[in-house]
């Protein structure tokens, strides 16, 4: 089943995936297309991150620093943590505050959340990168590539 094909508005049912600890499956497909290939280095970094859902952002930040990530404050608020994987890719975790949507629509970004992403190292400048970057891969909390906005917003405290 393609992600997000439940007929529900995207991003409004994230609790189930946030608490799961199933092993990442790099062969899964996204929306009928082959999922982006994940390098061994990316897979190792994803495994090391483990599930982030439900954790406090300060605990995640401490974990990232131990794992060798470097953090910067994002101009739009929140923080971006990156780690060069040594293969031309950079692993990134973004910690964002709740989106102030008017009116609230119940999307997953309306709570504090984290993102797991990888980007080509060439896209990274001063510890951050454009969300429109070519070659950016978004992951759900299980470490699977996903384009479902609900799944790539990982709820935090």
């Amino acid at each position: 089943m393609p992600s997000g094909s439940t007929g529900k508005p995207p991003g409004k049912d994230v609790a189930a995936q946030a608490s799961s600890t199933a092993a990442p499956d790099a062969t899964s497909s996204t929306c009928g297309k082959a999922a982006p290939a994940i390098s061994a280095e990316e897979q190792k970094a994803l495994d090391q991150l483990g599930p982030l859902g439900g954790k406090s952002q300060s605990d995640i930040e401490a974990q990232l620093l131990v794992q060798g990530y470097t953090g910067v404050k994002a101009n739009s608020g929140g923080k971006v943590f990156t780690k060069d994987l040594g293969n031309g890719k950079t692993m990134a975790v973004r910690l964002d505050p709740a989106m102030q949507r008017n009116p609230p629509r119940g999307f997953a970004d309306e709570k504090p959340h984290a993102h797991k992403e990888s980007v080509p190292g060439t896209a990274v400048s001063n510890g951050n990168y454009s969300p429109a970057s070519s070659g950016l891969t978004k992951f759900d909390d299980l470490g699977k590539p996903s384009s479902d906005p609900g799944k790539v917003h990982i709820p935090t405290q």
Partner: protein, 198 residues
Amino acid sequence: MANNRIELLAAHMSAGTREDGLAALDAGLQAGDEAPLSVDESHLLTQWLARERSAYAQAYLWRLLYSGPLLPEAVNLALRWLEELQLGHRGAALAYLRRHRPDLMPRLAEQFSRDSDAGVRYELAQFWLPTRPDEAVDLMIDALAGADHEGFDAMTFEICEYGKSTHLERLGKLDADAGGNSGFGRVAEALRSRLEGD
């Protein structure tokens, strides 16, 4: 004034400490762990924002003002901010006005209809969404290329929710023009999944 949280934060000598304090206060307010901001606190926030130069601090000052009470001086600051095309967070200024002075929006929507700032375009799209949803989605697609992470993610949700097959086609063309595997393509994938699930 002894319990004015903004006064206490502003008194810190370290910019980093002040910024971290603003972010923590914002998180506490969002979580309901902090009491809503008072008029006095919003008054100080407005003064602080008018002189603050850190983009990160500005982001949180706007967020805090947004969640506080209506303040005429903050409305004036937002209107001036919106006119300064070189400033960041112009979308946040418009968000403040859309929330606290919705009566101004028809005029502002007309005045800034051709604005290229992604944050401004997002807020204009929110204004148009109830009455002109197709145009609002097009406006958000226009804004994707220049959006920051927060804006890009917010628009992904809303394009997914309100987009139609014509928008999917447009996103596909933009992705192809960008060489493929671009941000447009990722939003297209999310919209395609929703449309196939309907």
